[in-house]
Amino acid sequence: MTKNPSTRNPSTENPSTGSSPARITLRDGDWPDPPASPESAAFVEAAREGRFLLRRCTACGKAHWYPRSSCPFCLGETAWEEASGEGTIYSYTMLAREDPPRTIAYVTLAEGPTMLTSLVDCEAESLAIGQPVRLVFAQSRNGTPVPCFRPVEAAEPSQAGPVP
């Protein structure tokens, strides 16, 4: 398994005991592999370069999630575009028994769509609906980039474009 150092934060690598409050780490390599699909190939390729893509309809102009070749609003053709990677938490939870702990969440992207994802690099107790988050790629067991989000620190300036 190869690890991409740019997506790892060594300060969060402490092994969790599963006790509360839970520290959620990035957990490279622990994510089940996403099945490959012709409709996700370009996303994966860009993600390997640190770019986060979504799809927008060339007919009605609306962005959507999860990305698909036919627009879910009008069945028009869609095209990839680079997204900001900025969002806010819509809802989240975690399985109490999962060890190391892991979250599942919906994050609403700055571009509009809300996506199923996971919140990483955070304290479970400090998460809240509405909290600003920013994209970070983890890697699944076979090294496929997995789009996760981590809370934006209060002092951290918001920035456009993907975050390494």
């Binding site: 994510w31 089940p32 592999d33 996403p34 099945p35 490959a36 699909s37 409709e39 996700s40 609306k62 962005a63 959507h64 999630w65 999860y66 990305p67 698909r68 627009c71 879910p72 609003f73 819509y90 809802s91 989240y92 939870t93 975690m94 399985l95 109490a96 028994r97 999962e98 892991r102 599942i104 969440a105 919906y106 609403t108 509009g112 769509p113 809300t114 996506m115 199923l116 994802t117 996971s118 609906i129 983890a138 699944s140 496929t144 997995v146």
Partner: protein, 388 residues
């Protein structure tokens, strides 16, 4: 054209087992079918329509139809997850109204308890499902996708864990009267809150049981129902719907029951205020609360207040629900609760519920269900039933 008055439920049977390690799933289907046909006073040879869903082993309805050696002129294996069997009653009524069959058999069975399948296990990745490349890595399970809805409902409407717990408390009050129920002890709000957290904010006692078992229904032409000796239960209205992620316009505060419920009430020509008894699919406490709101028993966001203080308990509350103990306490065969919802509604309308929980003068009931995953993609089906 309407199905109102075009078909009756003549037979209903809930398999008494809750753990069946030595039985096959096909066997449980067939035993349930035999029970429902005996209840109706019909035989296998009377059946000319068959309905089942994804719990039936084999390809669609074919393997089970062959196992029971049915002679059919109508088959339907619509799968809306646990809500399927509620939709099957409607589809059977439609087929009967169109003359496509006269005696429709609906079966469900499964043995997730013996197989060790629970709602906290990661759901198997369906490689060719279009959402899998985008969701499989995050470990969606059954319970965490419902917990996402509960958390959001609390955020938007101030719903509390105590209010959700009242749903389990009411179910437990009913289960004590059911000798077949898996969990027969009455629990309190404090018991629910003290039970281990499974997926915040859902505790263990916010979750339904995992049980082996099965159930079956027989839906017939009204003329056939009149020739039988059982009390007649009329199919009055039905609705079905689905909801997904809406292209990314995710809103976890409402369910597809927002469409299926009003459609069923409209077809039946009744309103929620007319309903004497409600079977409400209770995979989790939040599932009940959302459906109560979406069916119009209370305003959106008021579900927590509606269920509190025992309002769902038969005999004391305004809306007696799941008087068999529901999925929360009694039975959730095949991890699909729709058929037991219809069965208990039939018992209530016949006056054959457990005496301690029988609703007086119960002449109008609703059975409603959510199948699949409330937090990502789910189906809903609603049925209005009346006593003739």
């Amino acid at each position: 054209m309407t199905i109102n008055g075009r078909a009756c439920i003549a037979g209903a049977y809930e398999h008494p087992t809750r753990k069946a390690p030595d039985k096959s799933v096909a066997q449980l289907h067939a035993e349930s079918a035999a029970g429902a046909l005996a209840d109706a006073g019909l035989t296998k040879d009377d059946v000319d329509g068959y309905f089942c869903a994804g719990d039936a082993p084999g390809l669609g309805p074919l393997a089970m139809a062959d196992y029971m050696n049915l002679r059919l002129r109508h088959l339907d294996s619509t799968d809306l997850g646990g809500a399927s069997y509620i939709a099957h009653v409607a589809h059977a009524a439609q087929a009967i109204a169109m003359g496509k069959c006269s005696v429709a058999l609906i079966t469900l069975a499964g043995r997730p308890r013996s197989a060790g399948h629970s709602g906290t296990a990661a759901r198997p990745v369906i490689a060719d499902a279009p959402d899998s490349p985008w969701e499989a890595p995050f470990g969606p399970t059954t319970v965490n996708l419902y917990a996402l809805c509960a958390r959001r409902h609390m955020h938007e409407f101030g719903t509390t864990s105590e209010q959700l717990a009242w749903i389990k408390v009411a179910a437990s009050h009913h289960a004590q009267a059911n000798p077949h129920a898996m969990l027969r002890d009455v629990v309190t709000v404090d018991d629910v809150l003290a039970s281990p957290m499974v997926a915040d904010p859902l505790h263990r006692l916010d979750c339904c049981v995992v049980s082996d078992g099965g159930g079956a229904l027989v839906v017939v032409r009204p003329e056939i129902a009149r020739s039988l000796k059982r009390p007649r239960v009329r199919v009055m209205g039905a609705g079905e719907a689905y909801k997904g992620q809406l292209g990314g316009e995710v809103d976890l505060t409402w369910s597809a029951a927002r469409q299926s419920g009003p459609a069923a009430f409209a077809e039946a020509g009744v309103t929620p205020a007319d309903i004497k008894y409600a079977s409400i699919y209770d995979s989790f406490t939040i599932t009940v609360l959302m459906q109560l709101e979406d069916l119009g028993f209370c305003e959106k966001g008021q579900g927590g207040r509606f269920v509190a203080d025992g309002n769902l308990i038969s005999g004391t509350g305004k809306l007696p629900f799941n008087t068999d103990g529901g999925g929360l306490c009694n039975n959730h065969p095949a991890n699909r609760g729709g058929i037991t919802k219809v069965i208990e509604a039939v018992r209530q309308l016949r006056g054959e519920a457990q005496p301690a929980v029988q609703v007086r003068n119960c002449d109008l009931a609703v059975a409603t269900g959510i199948g699949g995953l409330l937090g990502s993609r789910h189906g809903a089906a609603t049925l209005v039933l009346g006593r003739e």
